[in-house]
């Protein structure tokens, strides 16, 4: 009985089973909640373009994959020992086939290569973004990675928040990012891609939200024990709601001066709760950068 089972499992039609299995796996899984994917259902033009690009590239490549799968199945069926195919023990070259074999992949890669050039420039995270028909000046925010939370400084408003990034939905978000700890990576998947945060260096990221909403942002680069807790909510608010929120922050009692900052920068064990600071040293971001920038300043600061 068992032997029969094994034989039926491993005999010639094995490849049918193979395909079936793949299909089943995919169907079962995609039944799960892909609608919650920030990448497949993005909330901003950057992420949507990234998605289009990805789906388009997949479509192009399937034109190779499907023939490969088909050809594999067909060859295995037809040319198995005892199959219908004619055995040609010496057939091992054909200029025509060779041309196709090099040419096919080459054309596809040229096509995708063209997309790469166009879209890498179009979706350069450093490129400032504009929104039509509204106040298009970008909304600046400075993000600092700490162990293990995010500090957001709003230079235009003179306020700061922890683990909550709020911005008016009508304006593009222009982020300056650095780290006061190890290297991390800043990402709000629903709005666009990620960029590393490194001590002593500033990186830039420009994003837009299509619609008001709350999105999850996080550090994606492993950075130590508290790494799983290093996420935050990013809120794109309508102008009115944003003003209200600003009022709440302005009424908060705590202020972020350098003494308080040092306390904040200490590692936290569990998830760092959202905090609001009604005022902040305007130069804080630059101070954080300067701690690491040039050897001479570091020496002057007594880092040795």
């Amino acid at each position: 009985m068992a032997r029969l089972f094994i034989r039926s499992l491993t005999s010639a039609p094995l490849l049918h089973l193979y395909g079936l299995m793949m299909l089943c796996g995919l169907v079962v899984l995609s039944g799960c909640s892909l609608q919650s994917s920030p990448l497949l259902y993005p909330k901003g033009p950057v992420a949507s373009t990234e998605r289009e690009l990805m789906l388009f590239a997949i479509a192009i490549m399937l034109t190779v994959l499907i023939p490969v799968w088909g050809l594999t199945l067909w060859c295995c069926r037809r040319y198995r020992k005892g199959g219908k195919g004619e055995y040609r023990p010496d057939w091992c070259s054909s200029t025509l086939v060779e041309c196709g074999v090099w040419g096919g992949p080459l054309i596809i890669i040229l096509l995708i290569g063209y997309l790469v050039v166009v879209y890498t420039f179009r979706l350069d995270p450093y490129k400032p973004l504009t929104v039509h028909s509204t106040d298009t000046t970008p909304f600046p925010v400075q993000a600092v990675a700490l162990d293990w939370k995010w500090l957001f400084i709003y230079p235009e408003l003179g306020i700061a928040t922890v683990n909550e990034l709020v911005f008016p939905q009508s304006r593009p978000l222009a982020l300056e990012i650095t780290s006061d700890t190890v290297m991390t990576s800043f990402m709000i998947p629903a709005l666009g891609g990620q960029i590393y945060a490194m001590a002593g260096m500033t990186t830039h990221l420009n994003l837009i939200a299509d619609q008001p909403g709350t999105f999850t942002g996080r550090n994606t680069q492993f950075s130590g024990t508290g790494f799983p807790q290093m996420y935050f909510s990013a809120k794109a608010l309508p102008d009115k709601a944003f003003e209200d929120w600003l009022g709440t922050v302005r009424n908060a009692s705590s202020m972020l001066n350098s003494a308080h900052y040092h306390q904040l920068a200490r590692p936290n064990k569990s998830y760092a709760p959202v905090e609001y600071f009604s005022s902040v040293d305007t130069d804080l971001f630059n101070h954080i950068l300067a701690r690491y920038s040039a050897p001479s300043t570091a020496l002057a600061n007594g880092a040795l």
């Binding site: 990805m54 890669i109 420039f121």
Partner: protein, 666 residues
Amino acid sequence: MTLLGRLSLEALPFYSWVAMGGAVVTLLAVLLPVLFLSYKRLWPWLWREWLTSVDHKKIGVMYIVLALAMLVRGFIDAIMMRAQQAIALNNEGYLPPEHFEQIFTSHGTIMIFFMAMPFLTGLINIIVPLQIGARDVAFPFLNSVSLWLTAAGAGLVATSLVIGRFSTAGWTGYPPYSGIQYSPGVGVDYWIWALMVSGVGSTLTGINFIVTILRCRAPGMTLMKMPLFVWTTLCTSLLIAFAFPALTVVAAMLGLDRTLGMHFFTNELGGNMMNFANLLWIWGHPEVYILILPAFGIYSEVTATFARKPLFGYRSLVYATAVIALLSFTVWLHHFFTMGSSASVNAVFGIATMVIAVPTGVKIFDWLFTLFRGQITFHPALLFTIGFIVTFVIGGMTGVLLAIPPVDYQMHNTTFLVAHFHNMLIPGALFGYLAGMQYWFPKAFGFTLNQRWGKWIFWLWTIGFYLAFMPLYLVGLLGMPRRLEQYTTPEWQPYLIVAFIGACFVLAGLCAIFIQLWVSVREREQNRDTTGDPWDGRTLEWYTSSPPAPYNFASIPKGDERDAFWQMKQTRMAYRFTQPSSIILPANTGMGVLLGVSGGILGFAMVWHIWWLALLALISIIALVVVRSSREERVSIYQPELIQSLEKPWQTSLAQAGLIGDGDPI
């Protein structure tokens, strides 16, 4: 206290049950074989016949034994992570963060350095000299040194389970996290020294095989007549020789940062981790081709043999291999598109990366056209090859996706990436090694592996692979980052549970590998490979007894045709033997073992800052090298009479099988 450097009783794993468990399992895994060998009084035999051997076939077998042991270790890590992520929604799971971090680091490190590298090196060792009709590698003693340095590196990683802890910085060990400020313990030092010690071994292997292939081929075997596995080995060896120095340098620099307070990669004082990322991946990207090219070679050999046809487009395959090897040095930046380089830099490296897909695609089609018009038998080795083709193209596709910088901005550091590289490494590399094992086992041991169990291995691994990694692509699209010990997003959990089930299938597949070995050893008398050519092979390794005598070939065969052995069989020129003349081979030596042990002790002493011991180990290494280089080489000589008596059983079975025609001299 200072006598033992940083080492103290605190290094012992009494701080948690996971640590204790790891230590106990490790100790048992070492002690049980030791006890068994002592009980059976096998040590002298083991030392004489195996540990001190400079025979490439035995060294190859030892490499593979190491690789299989490390596969088990690496897989235990893997299934522990899968179990953790399957349950750790809104809770700690069963693994504290520190352990989870050590586990993903050791899993990655072990699988790459101590599973994949030894596995492919072992197969290369056993087969390449036979395929080119050589008596041994160019530098047999160096080969033994490589083996023992690799084993010493693996030993260091294993030691970290019992004494101290392992790194938590991931297999890439990115600073500043891996710097002394953020990782003050010994973990990263274990990682550094395991890599450096074994890295020297790998570099020597690379050099050894470059010279072997360029200098020791059978008469008539020009480069364009070499079997494809030899070509891929040549390319891999070149990659090793050029890429590994970068790894050694970057690991040494990190070590200097950590031990001598230098600032190559620190946050402060002008250190810059971006230099680390560049150096690491200048080694790291070629490394993936070091792992994959030999597997491509194996797939080529297996396809031709079991389709009973010459490889389609041999020249294309050779050029494709060489192009891949060359291009693999030009794409390293794709590992950090998100580091803020300009759009033009990213675009250039994105395109360079995708260009590699062209020769890879060529290879896939060439294998398919080899099957086309063939006469296919579904040996387990061929099943692995077909499974590879069907699955690898998915990994190729996601690889091209990740090479598009804007897409990578979204996928980088997510489980999509984890799924992609496992998609390359498991079907791309590991399946190849397993296929090689199914295919060449009889050559190494003289009997074939049980094919029924071979098919089970294939199916369990394949189903397991799909179940374990397809969900990771999807959960990556849901935005799940890699290396996550716990999470708060309920949508991820179903995928992670499926992935855990997949890992269980792989576990069954892993068990099947050992069951197959067990069953095959038990049935070895029924499955003897008496002719040395069980699959009607095409290349020269099948033109000698299984297992071959220490000198491989009583008289060196000619290699002046592609598929030389197949051609000989076609023209009835095979199995025509002439009077052998005497053969000189290097004698066994224990110096390789001693060098390996010294290297391991050096690493251990450096990890724990036991300076006097490090100095002693260093002196011992230098002394061994000096003694070995200045001493006259000891050899063993095989006289014609001895050769004839060694060849007798094989020739008798050939005659019984009717393969030696009338009048052919025996």
